[in-house]
Symmetry: C2
Subunit: 353 residues, 2 copies
């Protein structure tokens, strides 16, 4: 293999795939051929990527021939089936689904935190974290290195595009139905009636509501998303006994996941020291001047790369605990950006001069 490696984007026409193509246009180019793959249904579509107009191809075994790195942004079951096929055809897979994240033979990598784990990938697959985990962990990891993390209590404010393009479409549809009726939101059931039966991928209306449920039912009343926050935080930080309690809530925001974080450490912290750690952390931007109206919010963080961190303050009743609020673009750092960063690190190893 000579020159620059070949990249395949599998799931190129989804919400995350679309952002991936945008990102590939803006980032430093490390790729030779870029091949866009998707379901039969999307084959033939033209997509602009890196200044070229590319034709989306159907995902087949042959379409994976000659691919060095394959980014997967497809549902869990599609990834579970196709990622091993891509590996057998010679590609390294960077998978954004939940199919492989907790596999002990698959590294779960955040380039700012544990890039060294990329080296050991016995299954040929590297996993990308869940979008809510990524937004939060990028701020938690540098604090852990400084103070020694013991416990996380998390509450999320998750955007509808975390459920894909259908999620975003659903909220926009519902907004049209509720806008203009100034009496709505004041009687039990009035929003349900206005929205009607089309709830899209959600168990309840999102317009004028918050829904304390994302993902599937896991054990003992926990949701799969809440379990991911616990399991993935432990794996990324290398803390198998980390105490984690998370409550995951969907909110009527298009893109931008936020998390209220209460982090307990092994040692005493001070707010200024913690703020300095976060200021120097890669992938983090500190936005923390409430008196001036500056705190992290989805409408500002959407479309940007870093995790926005603010409301940084030591707990009043525990000198070892820090409270803060973080917002990240769930389609970028929460998905496409982290995937691209991992793939670029792999590309460096695969590029032969």
């Amino acid at each position: 293999m000579a020159g620059l490696p070949t990249l395949a984007v599998v799931g190129a026409t989804g919400a995350v795939g679309t952002v991936l193509c945008e990102l590939l246009t803006g980032r430093r180019n490390v790729w030779g051929e870029i091949r866009l793959l998707a379901s039969e249904r999307s084959a033939g579509r033209k997509v602009r990527c890196r200044g070229e107009e590319l034709t989306v191809q159907a995902l087949t075994e042959e379409a994976l021939d000659g691919v060095d790195v394959a980014m997967f942004d497809v549902p869990d079951e599609v990834a579970a089936h196709w990622a091993p096929i891509a590996v057998r055809r010679g590609a390294v897979v960077v998978d954004n689904s939940g199919a492989f994240r907790m596999d002990p033979h698959v590294p779960l990598v955040v380039p700012e935190i544990n890039p060294e784990q990329l080296r050991d990938r016995p299954r040929g697959i590297v996993a990308n974290g869940n979008c809510t985990t990524l937004a939060m962990i990028i701020a938690v990891a540098p604090l852990h290195r400084e103070y020694g993390l013991r416990e996380l209590v998390l509450a999320s404010y998750q955007a509808v595009s975390g459920a894909g393009q259908a999620g975003a479409d659903t909220l926009h549809d519902q907004l049209i139905k509720v806008a203009g009726d100034r009496a709505l939101g004041s009687r039990a059931g009035d929003v349900r009636q206005a929205v009607g039966d089309d709830l899209g991928p959600f168990p309840a209306p999102l317009a004028l509501n918050v829904v304390p449920w994302t993902g599937l039912l896991a054990d003992e009343g926990w949701s799969s998303e809440e379990m991911k926050l616990r399991d993935e935080s432990r794996k990324i930080l290398g803390l198998p006994d980390l105490k984690v309690s998370a409550t995951c809530v969907r909110v009527p925001v298009v893109t931008g996941h936020s998390v209220a974080v209460h982090a307990v450490f092994a040692t005493e912290i001070d707010t200024d020291g913690a703020r300095e750690v976060l200021r120097n952390a890669p992938g983090v931007i500190v936005v923390d001047d409430p008196a001036a109206g500056e705190f992290p919010m989805p409408i500002d963080a959407v479309g940007t790369d870093p995790s926005w961190v603010g409301r940084i303050r030591r707990a009043l009743d525990d000198p070892r605990a820090l409270d803060f609020f973080v917002t990240g673009d769930n389609l970028r750092k929460g998905a496409a950006l982290n995937t691209a960063q991992i793939a670029e690190l792999l590309a460096k190893d695969l590029t032969h001069p």
Copy 2:
């Protein structure tokens, strides 16, 4: 004084006052005359209350004559000025502002939790809790009695009507501006541009956003609302050393405050036992079957009296900790209902056969 006591509603035309008049219509009648008072500007308005058409009068010293119980739903500074005047004129004041809540000579009463504290009111004033505290404490108190509360970690999802009618109007105005533009919410600043400069009582747009800031700047980066949750929980529960960390966030919901609660107790708990405690708790309704789409949400809880509690589950990594989600109508139990309940307890003592 013979017969039923006279009630004054001070601030009768505001968001909470309006709900108070509705409540007085539906609840068992314990009042003689009901007098509606408000600012000069609202005087002369006709308001239906308890089946009668009443004319709103301007708040003056004379208008308070003969009043036995005065419910105050006005800004802090108005309450601070007028409540002592009403007391001097012979009324017991039930105040919903923040002016007196932390005064050691003013009881802070939630009838389901500490009604006995009503008896000792040296200033003649009884305080009503903050709306976010009330939604949450009604579920926390019975668990405390059973298990002994040690710590609360809270994240709120607060409705815009917590900032009064202006808050609700602002969100409705913004929804009209953002509805129908399906591209909105995907670029930094696009929602700000669509919403324009009219932010109403908020520091940022609420449509398609969450704002991690409510209230004013208190000490060390904490907001006044977050301090209220800590101070009022301690006072209502009689736990001056209770550890509390709260993050207060405004969300695009018209009415219905929600709180993600992580509560740590002195003794081990089990989920079923905790659920049973909550099922038997006054003012609480348990809505907890995620597989069937049943969890507490503002669109269902709005307009109802109880606090809706669900997502009840023991922490996976701490057998002494319980996680749950609670939603309550911030204008009812969070304000008007609790005020009415307190006033009715007072009315019982004041009624002479």
